[in-house]
Amino acid sequence: MRRPNHHSDQERPVEPNVRPNSSQNAFFTPQTAFYGQPNDPALEMERLTSNPFLRVGMKAVEDGMKDITGKTFNALPDEMKKSVSSIRYYFAVDQAYVRKKLILILFPFRSRKWSLDYSADEPVPPRVDTNAPDYYIPLMSAMTYVLIASIVLGTQKRFTPEQLGTHASSVLIWNMIEIGLLSLIFYICNIHSKLRLLDLIAYCGYKYVGMIVVLSSYLITHSLLAYYCSLLYTGISISFFLINCLRLQILPDTSGSQAYNVNRNRRRVYLLLLVTFSQPVFIWCLTRHLIVT
């Protein structure tokens, strides 16, 4: 069995990845344009399962299934390989991008350009385009929120190590509820937009940056006034940021026939407002139990 050797770039042909029809299932669209290398999803899974015993075992399972059922199937489905490589797109960040994005989240009022750059019909990775969504900032800010919440509890002498687990699981569950509800609403209202599920997860994760700002201002000053002022400012800036980012994704292009779709257009606007204004509410909900009057 011959497998491509991933150390010799010149042997491997540059092949474009086959992209499924975007209306069917936008979840597993592979990204090809980062690091300038062909992004072979088979390589990702091969690296993860480079243990030869695992491969022998998988092959035995596949052969066994073929004997029993008479049908061939692949024990490592292609979609798993594609989803790993599509998640890698969101982690292709560097320090300059993170700095610019954090400034953009906390002070979005000066920026003029909000549209994403595309190259060959695929969005460009976050290293190159500041407006592209990523997973590094939401993930790190969610974990920082857990840490800072524990520090706040510690200064109030209410800290036990179980609080770490409690806060981490509340972050996870609230995220899942929010994303689930939003996807359900998208599905029920029958709105097809350019916004993919993975992008939505990223955009809903940017509120943790606001949460960290709110909590650190309370931690440093210990005053309720500082807490509410920072809550107000953070709410405004996150809403502004998200409205501008999502406006181009959810609302339809102005070049279409608008009079025909007036109802659907209104639904999109309501959905956009729901997404953006639910973020400050979440920030308030997840921080108020830490504040002691």
Partner: protein
């Protein structure tokens, strides 16, 4: 590496074929030619310590590796790694970058948990849980952020993160002696956290060739060590 996919399936058999093996026994020999003794050599007592016999004994002794090398404990590497952690601003020695060693991290984690015992907190389970979750998370993050041709194994991340726990062990032993309260305590803790995370990210960035991402790797390490500081302080 013998686990390269090409080598594993393309190995060739190197040695005698069965025909050649049979040939050795063809002329009435009951042992293969390499083990043939001249019968005079075999029986005469003054050739019991003959050079041919003793040279084969020497060969057997020389082909066995020394005990420490067989166990995988390399004191030179351990010393170099500890030195590179104690000085976070020096560039790491390239020989230690690929060495995976779990003995050091184990010792440091146990030392940290024991120092918490001195403070009156029995948090062995929490230390173990945080180390496990942190290592798995770091492994996932590094594999997603680094380029595809430089994967890192879970054991390597455990080794690096465990070695860089050394400053946190120093902090927790120090907090038994001094009392770190309030603003002063927070700044001391932050200094130690920065020390740990800079050395960890330096090792990661050097061995995984991550350009312009060292601070991005340092931040999750800082969060990881921050949890340990939290266990110490509160």
């Amino acid at each position: 590496m013998s686990w390269n996919s090409g080598d594993f399936y393309n190995q060739q058999y190197i040695g005698l074929t069965s025909y050649e093996l049979q040939e050795q026994y063809a002329n009435g020999n009951f042992m293969p030619s390499s083990f043939q003794f001249n019968s005079q050599q075999f029986y005469s007592p003054n050739e019991y310590l003959s050079p041919t016999v003793s040279s084969t004994l020497d060969e057997i002794e020389n082909t066995e590796p020394p005990l420490l090398e067989e166990l995988g404990i390399n004191f030179e590497h351990i010393y170099k790694k500890t030195k590179s952690i104690l000085n976070p601003f020096a560039t790491p020695d390239s020989s230690i970058l690929d060495d995976v060693d779990l003995a050091g991290p184990l010792v440091f984690c146990l030392a940290f948990a024991f120092s918490l015992l001195l403070l009156g907190k029995i948090h062995f389970g929490y230390v173990y849980g945080i180390v496990t979750l942190g290592t798995v998370g770091m492994y996932a993050l590094l594999n997603l952020m680094a380029s595809s041709d430089k994967p890192c194994s879970g054991i390597y991340t455990t080794s690096v993160l465990g070695y860089c726990l050394l400053p946190m062990v120093i902090l927790s032993f120090a907090s038994f002696v001094f009392r770190f309260n309030g603003f002063f305590g927070m700044t001391i803790a932050i200094i130690f956290i920065l020390w740990s995370s800079i050395s960890a990210s330096k090792l990661f960035a050097a061995s995984l060739a991550m350009i312009g991402q060292q601070l991005l790797v340092a931040y999750p390490c800082a969060l990881f060590y921050g949890v340990f500081a939290l266990l110490t302080m509160f």
